[in-house]
Structures are given as structure tokens and as C-alpha cells.
């Protein structure tokens, strides 16, 4: 483990102990460290900022509610990413189901739907052409390939951690990332040659 990994582990462990004891300040520190990365990670699946934020906030709330049952030695880092991944996939599954059952909505039941909402004015980082193409190319990767690659490059999980989050072997993680690199290099050829 590198020294920065060690520092991260020690800090996490301290926060977890304090959160388990009901320390809201420590919980806020955990939130501050993980909220934005987890939202971006969820966004990769649900493709909407609001559902991504909603989802991650619910994860933190669930974490808080179940804090008494925590094993502080468990790797919360991978746990948070695993939760986010699972809930994102569930969200996608549920939405696919909803879109099918909307047609046969029961009469006599309250029917509530969100209306299309305006997109928030964005910070507008103007990406260079290669960067724009890269974002699109990553999005086009086969799903598990994309997940492994994103977890590695954007969220700095080790291959071992990725293996745990995705429930695959470390060797498979290695293969998926190699496949991603190959596909990206092919897709981005016009900008690289």
C-alpha cells in the first residue's frame, strides 16, 4: 500500500469509528470527501444529475441509519462504490420496468410523475476536441469495460478494489481495462495521429 493509501485508510478508519459513535461532524467529513465522486460515478449509469444526487444522498442516509451495525474494519471505500453501483443498476432496472407498466397504470390509485425539468446552468468547462471525443468514447465502451475503466482512472480504485466492487476477478479487471485502452486508442485515432 502506498503511503497516501495508508493515510487515506487511517483517516477513513478514524471517521468510521466516530460515525459509529454518532459523530455528525465525522459523518459530514465522510460526505464531503465522497459526495461529488460518487455522484459522478452514479451519473455514468443514470445519466441525470438529479437522480444521481438523490441516489447518493440516500446511500449516505442508509449508512447513517445502519451505522451501529458497521464493522469498522470493512473497506468503506469499496463499500460506498459498491452501494452506488448497485443502486444505480437498480435504478436503471426500475426505470425500464416503470416505462413498461406506465401503460397499464391502475385506475383508482394516486398517480404521481415528475414533469421534465430545466437543466441547471452549468459551469461550462470548455473541453478541447480530444477531451470531448474521449468522454464520448468512454461512454461507448461496453458496460462492464466502461465501469472498470472509470473506477480505475476517475476514482483511483486499485484493481483489487474494482474486483470487489464489480464482483469479478482481478485478472478480469485487468483484461477489461486493457480492452478499454485498446478500444479508446482505436476510437481516438483521428486525434492522435
Amino acid at each position: 500500500m502506498s503511503s497516501s493509501d495508508q493515510r487515506r485508510s487511517a483517516e477513513l478508519l478514524d471517521w468510521l469509528r466516530r460515525v459509529r459513535a454518532g459523530d455528525v461532524a465525522a459523518f459530514e467529513a465522510l460526505f464531503t470527501a465522497y459526495y461529488e465522486p460518487l455522484v459522478r460515478f452514479a451519473f455514468g449509469y443514470v445519466k441525470g444529475r438529479e437522480p444521481a444526487e438523490e441516489l447518493v444522498q440516500d446511500i449516505f442516509l442508509a449508512l447513517w441509519e445502519q451505522r451501529a451495525r458497521w464493522d469498522v474494519h470493512e473497506a468503506v471505500h469499496t463499500y460506498l462504490y459498491t452501494m452506488t453501483r448497485n443502486r444505480s443498476l437498480n435504478w436503471l432496472r426500475r426505470r425500464a420496468l416503470e416505462q413498461r407498466s406506465m401503460a397499464d397504470a391502475e385506475r383508482g390509485d394516486t398517480d404521481i410523475a415528475a414533469l421534465p425539468r430545466p437543466e441547471h446552468a452549468d459551469d461550462s468547462a470548455r473541453l478541447a476536441e480530444l477531451d470531448r471525443a474521449l468522454v464520448a468514447a468512454v461512454d461507448r465502451l461496453p458496460p462492464r469495460c466502461r465501469e472498470a475503466f472509470v473506477l480505475s482512472r476517475q476514482h483511483h480504485l486499485t484493481y483489487a478494489e474494482i474486483a470487489r466492487v464489480m464482483k469479478i476477478s482481478e485478472r478480469t479487471v485487468q483484461e477489461q481495462i486493457a480492452r478499454a485502452l485498446r478500444a479508446l486508442r482505436a476510437d481516438l485515432a483521428p486525434w492522435l495521429e
Partner: protein
């Protein structure tokens, strides 16, 4: 250009996971043909950019998110669905109520102390929908009443579908009521009660606003101050304004232009000579933006403007043009300056 090299090895090399032996192997391979060096360099470019570039997903306001989470830390939560719909267990009827967080896991409503003799109190199980800034909802109640709930608003209605239809609103909503003479439909907003007499109408009363307004699209509505008589009967084309804090006064305009009261259903906002403060408050409710005028000349401005709430990127530039101002945005905070 195909390269006869194991991608697993290349990938490990570029990811700095290669053993010294593998590194030597790759470097020998690269040295053997000139175009290979450029190829590996391009892989490094992809690898490095992929570590830095993020898909733009709009502003993430972590402090707002934390406030939302912190508020819910001590209340019972349901499973996450796009709109916050939940069952609150207590409601004292006919009396202004304040929401107080009690012991962990319980949400209790408390009556605000009043000097008048208190009306009889009943409790009722309620359902609630809450919209976020920028979010609107379309609700069809079991009795067939259609509601459009505006941004940053909250609507509560009884779970008991056979009893009186008393609903409670904070914010803005449009009601198309399924008339039932045996079960009056009443909307409670602040200290105003609007009772349906077979109607479609829009009500607006955000907590903290100076006014509550009721605009009648069709049919008629009886307005009263809480449950006290006498009632003012409004007809189609009427707009009633209650200025909060003034004792008992409801100001009725007949034959009014209802456009600005109904526009929110289509995601449009209409201002006619509105004070800037009102415009900025709406921007917060529709976009979550906190717009601050930095010059006193701006503060006095009046704005006539209609905007479609989905043309986000145009909102700030358009406002700036209307005011002849310029703006600086940092995340959700925007400062407006007079253009010199």
C-alpha cells in the same frame, strides 16, 4: 496500424503496474521500430487524459446536498424515488403547524401557540409530495382531481379518501378539482382557505412571500380566512390577493389576465413590471441559483419578462441584457453588476 503486442502487457505498462522485467520487455519492443514509440506515447496520452477529463454534469452544490441530508438525518426515510413522497403520521387540522424534529426516527408536528380559543383538534394521516427547486410534478388524486405542483413546493393530502378533502399547500399549485358536493375540496395556504365549488384554479403562497394569490380559471371558489366566515366567492377570471400580515383583507380583481398565474404549468414564468427581488426569488426556485445584485441601482429595477424555464443557458445572459448589467457566476452564486 496493428501492433503484435499483448494488450494486457501494454496496458499494465501504461498504467505503471509493470514489473521491471515487463518494462524492459516493452522498452526493447519500442526500440525495435520507430513508429512504436509514437504509438506508446499516444496510449499514455489517452491514459492520462482519461484520468483528468470528466463528463460535464452541471454544478454539484455539495453544501446544499449536505443540508438536505443533515435535515433528514433524524427523520424516518423511505426508499429513494425521484419525488419525495412520504406519509407523515400527525397533522393537527385547522391550525398553523410547525415541523419540529423530535427523537431519532420520529417526525412530530407541533401546534404554534395561539391566543384565540383553539378549534377542536383532530389528527389525520397525510401523504406528502415535495418538489425541489426547478422540479414540478403532475399529480392525479384518487378522486380524479388533477394537480400541477410548482417548483420548490409542498402539497399534503389525507390518505383517507372517504372523508373531507382538505389539502395543504406551501408554494404554488394548479388544481382542476373533481367536484363532489358531499365532500368539499379545500386548499389551505397560509391563513387562507380556498374551497372548490366546481373549479380549476391556481394558488400561490410560498412561506415568507408577502402575498398569497388565487387565480380562477373556471368555475368558482369560496375564499375564507382559515375557517372563519364570511367567505368571498370568486368566479372565472378573478384573482384574489391576500397580503400577509394585514388583518382580514383579501383584494379581488375581476376580469384579470390569468397568464402569469397559470404559466408555471407549462414551465414558463411571466413577469410584468415585477420588482427585481421577486424575479431573483423565482430564479432560486426554478434553477437553485442565488442571484445577488451588487449595485443599489439594480435593486430598484422593475422587470417585464417571460422566460421558458428550460432555456437555462439563456436565463442569466437575458436577465443581464434586460437590466443592462453584467454578471459573474461561481457555482450557484451569481453577482449582478451595473454595466459601466
Amino acid at each position: 496500424m496493428e501492433h503484435d503486442i499483448d494488450w494486457l502487457k501494454l496496458s499494465d505498462y501504461v498504467a505503471d503496474r509493470a514489473s521491471p522485467a515487463l518494462r524492459a520487455e516493452i522498452e526493447d519492443w519500442v526500440a525495435a521500430a520507430p513508429e512504436r514509440r509514437q504509438f506508446v506515447e499516444s496510449l499514455r496520452t489517452v491514459w492520462e487524459r482519461a484520468g483528468v477529463v470528466r463528463e460535464p454534469i452541471g454544478p454539484i452544490d455539495r453544501s446544499v446536498a449536505w443540508q438536505s441530508v443533515a435535515r433528514r438525518l433524524q427523520s424516518t426515510t423511505g426508499d429513494g424515488i425521484p419525488l419525495r413522497v412520504r406519509r407523515t403520521n400527525w397533522r393537527t387540522l385547522g391550525v398553523a403547524a410547525a415541523l419540529v424534529l423530535g427523537a431519532i426516527g420520529v417526525v412530530k408536528l407541533m401546534r404554534v401557540a395561539r391566543t384565540d380559543p383553539a378549534p377542536t383538534v383532530a389528527v389525520q394521516s397525510m401523504r406528502e409530495v415535495r418538489t425541489e427547486p426547478g422540479q414540478r410534478a403532475s399529480i392525479q388524486l384518487v378522486d380524479g382531481t388533477r394537480v400541477v405542483l410548482g417548483v420548490d413546493s409542498r402539497l399534503q393530502w389525507p390518505t383517507d379518501v372517504t372523508g373531507a378533502r382538505d389539502v395543504y399547500l406551501e408554494g404554488e399549485a394548479y388544481f382542476d378539482v373533481q367536484h363532489d358536493a358531499t365532500r368539499p375540496f379545500r386548499v389551505h395556504v397560509g391563513d387562507v382557505v380556498a374551497e372548490d365549488i366546481g373549479t380549476a384554479f391556481a394558488i400561490r403562497g410560498y412561506p415568507g412571500d408577502a402575498r398569497i394569490s388565487v387565480a380562477i380559471e373556471s368555475g368558482s371558489v369560496a375564499l375564507a380566512m382559515s375557517d372563519r366566515a364570511p367567505k368571498t366567492v370568486l368566479a372565472a377570471g378573478d384573482v384574489a390577493i391576500r397580503t400577509t400580515g394585514t388583518p382580514g383583507a383579501i383584494d379581488v380583481r375581476h376580469g384579470a389576465d390569468l397568464t402569469s398565474y397559470l404559466a408555471f404549468r407549462e414551465g414558463r414564468v411571466v413577469f410584468d413590471q415585477a420588482p427585481l427581488r421577486d424575479v431573483l426569488t423565482e430564479l432560486t426556485r426554478w434553477y437553485g441559483l442565488n442571484v445577488i445584485p451588487m449595485d443599489s441601482a439594480l435593486v430598484r429595477a422593475r422587470v417585464t419578462w417571460t422566460f421558458e424555464a428550460d432555456s437555462t443557458s439563456a436565463v442569466l445572459p437575458t436577465l443581464a441584457r434586460i437590466l443592462d448589467a453584467r454578471y459573474e457566476q461561481h457555482g450557484r452564486t451569481v453577482h449582478l453588476f451595473v454595466r459601466r
